[in-house]
């Protein structure tokens, strides 16, 4: 089988999310990559070094700069004429593009796979990860999004892929990019961090969240996450949300502070290696999944902890 992997990038470098997808695709067959962007030859050169990749298709066109699905999907659909599976990270970029490609190919997408069980058989979470479905596709081609935490990362170097230019139709004339407000942070990225400190509704407001959570995170070199309640209340931006409908994380250590442990939150973090919970309610559901629990008032416990580390 020949697979086509979507390379996630910012037109400057390959994003980590790509590496787990390469591993998933390699379980299906040959791994070819697609770098679609603008002024992104360096990305293609970098991607060609990922261990195990064959051809790297480079589509360099201003219309692909921001990954607009309207422009990119027809390009992918065309390349799928000679590939058997389109394999994409389950990031917001991947989730935006893949179903558009699937519909163009008249294929039912398989979302968020956790494992490859056979040429056409995969497992995937449903009901916020409270059930795992094993599904078999009957379509001639496959369109798959991959849960990054479920697959090991491919080695970013050691490969010797060959970059080949491709051209697509470019601008479909349906949409345009206006602007972005991207978070700038010195801290590690949520989805690749080894340690995450997450705060919930109990943190009261943005200032308190900052005062309590950030020093602990900085002491540990951790990324910062949040529950939906904390995001909705405006303590932190949307990209901090961990959960069924936010980011899926699986760090070595996940520290949940003032988070009750709703199923939607657990869906995003319960594959973490060690879960630590700090909550004043000893019956909070988060303690049912925590390896280490501390029943305490976070407003005294967390500063105390930060001071003692």
């Amino acid at each position: 089988m020949k697979t086509l992997v979507w390379v996630e990038h910012d037109n400057a470098s390959v994003k980590d999310a790509t590496l787990a997808v390469v591993t998933a695709a390699s379980k299906l067959g040959e791994v070819h990559l697609l770098v679609a962007g603008s002024g992104c030859r360096a990305v293609a050169d970098e991607a060609a070094k990922i261990a195990g990749v064959g051809k790297v298709h480079l589509a360099d066109n201003a219309a692909y700069e921001h990954g607009l699905a309207e422009n990119v999907a027809p390009l992918v659909a065309e390349l799928m004429g000679h590939h058997d599976a389109f394999v994409v990270p389950a990031t917001t970029t991947g989730k935006n593009i893949a179903p558009r490609v699937a519909a163009l190919l008249d294929v039912m997408q398989i979302s968020d796979i956790l494992s490859v069980e056979g040429d056409k058989t995969f497992t995937r979470p449903i009901y916020a990860g409270n059930a795992i479905a094993t599904v078999e596709s009957s379509d001639a081609k496959l369109v798959i999004t991959v849960r990054g935490t479920a697959f090991a990362k491919a080695e970013p170097t050691g490969g010797s892929g060959v970059v080949e230019d491709v051209s697509g139709a470019g601008d479909a004339g349906l949409s345009s990019f206006v602007g972005a407000e991207l978070a700038k942070s010195e801290r590690p990225e949520l989805t690749s961090a080894k340690i995450i400190v997450s705060g919930g509704r109990a943190l009261k407001d943005g200032e308190t969240f900052e005062q309590i959570i950030m020093p602990l995170a900085d002491k540990l070199g951790a990324a910062v996450g949040a529950s939906r309640a904390a995001v909705d209340a405006g303590y932190v931006p949307n990209d901090y949300q961990v959960g069924q409908t936010g980011k899926i994380v699986a760090p070595e250590v996940y520290i949940a502070v003032g988070i009750s442990g709703a199923i939607q939150h657990l869906a995003g973090m319960k594959d973490s290696k060690t879960i630590i919970a700090i909550n004043k309610d000893e019956d909070a559901p988060i303690f049912q999944v925590a390896d280490i629990g501390l029943v305490a008032d976070l407003f005294t416990a967390v500063p105390d902890l930060t001071g003692k580390l």
Binding site: T91, L104, A131, D139, S175, I275, I292
Partner: protein, 248 residues
């Protein structure tokens, strides 16, 4: 313009799903069912656009069993004008739902179709994007803000790195994220009024769509369970544990 809002009847988000002992699926017998929360946000957004004078009519659509009429009545009670149930007891995959919606779009010619970004049962996150592809129209997924301006719409999207804004030419497809709005509750008088609103019942065959699934579910199983760990007495004990783990 008209706005089409597809809504799905799903397990209530407060219910913890249980896998059936025979491994064929999740037990939905006697379980509370509700409108998919993202679809409530979609209905709310459509109503706000109508209230702002940007839309004239809101049509709620559901593809599902007879009981999905309840979900449509909820949408009507919130403020949708009429509803269409495409009735079937089969489980309909996003691709087939998108095909049915495409056929309805051809009849109704809406300026916007607003859908939830994902249903909390199958967690697919596909239908809106697929519909946009089948129609050859633009898509604004994971929306936290929707602003109509003449013949285009600006959609602010929740993306992994933060927020991004795209401009789409109308007609367009929008899928909702959590921060778009807070859906209203239907008032009792509106619930009563909703009972009299028009609700047409159709079938997938009426739209010429083959809903045969492309994916076969071989089995559904429980995820690995995490056992509860220990509780530590105080912060010092937690510090000791973290040091033991090599974290601090």
């Amino acid at each position: 313009m008209k706005i089409l809002v597809p809504v799905k009847r799903v397990i209530d988000y407060n219910v913890k799903p249980r896998v059936k002992a025979d491994g064929t699926g999740v037990d939905l017998a006697n379980v509370k069912m509700s409108m998919n929360p993202f679809d409530e946000i979609a209905v709310e957004e459509a109503i706000r656009l109508k209230e702002a004078g940007k839309a004239e009519e809101i049509i709620a659509i559901s593809v599902g069993p007879t009981k999905a009429q309840e979900t449509l009545r909820t949408a009507l009670a919130m403020g949708a004008d009429r509803a269409i149930l495409v009735e079937t007891d089969a489980e309909v995959e996003p691709l087939a739902v998108a095909k049915i919606l495409k056929a309805i779009v051809a009849e109704e010619n809406p300026g916007l179709v607003i859908l939830g970004k994902q249903a909390i049962d199958d967690d697919s996150n596909q239908t809106g994007q697929m519909l946009a592809a089948l129609l050859g129209r633009p898509q604004g997924t994971f929306a936290s803000k929707v602003e109509i301006d003449g013949d285009s719409v600006a959609v602010t999207r929740e993306v992994d790195g933060g927020l991004e804004t795209v401009k789409l030419s109308l007609p367009a497809i929008v899928t909702t994220d959590l921060r778009l709005n807070e859906p209203r509750y239907a008032s009792l008088p509106n619930i009563m009024k909703a009972k009299k609103k028009q609700l047409d019942v159709k079938s997938p065959a009426d739209y010429g769509v083959d809903i045969t699934p492309r994916l076969k579910t071989l089995k559904v199983s429980e995820p690995p369970v995490r056992s509860a760990g220990i509780k530590v007495a105080d912060v010092d004990a937690l510090v000791a544990k973290l040091k033991e783990m090599g974290v601090a």
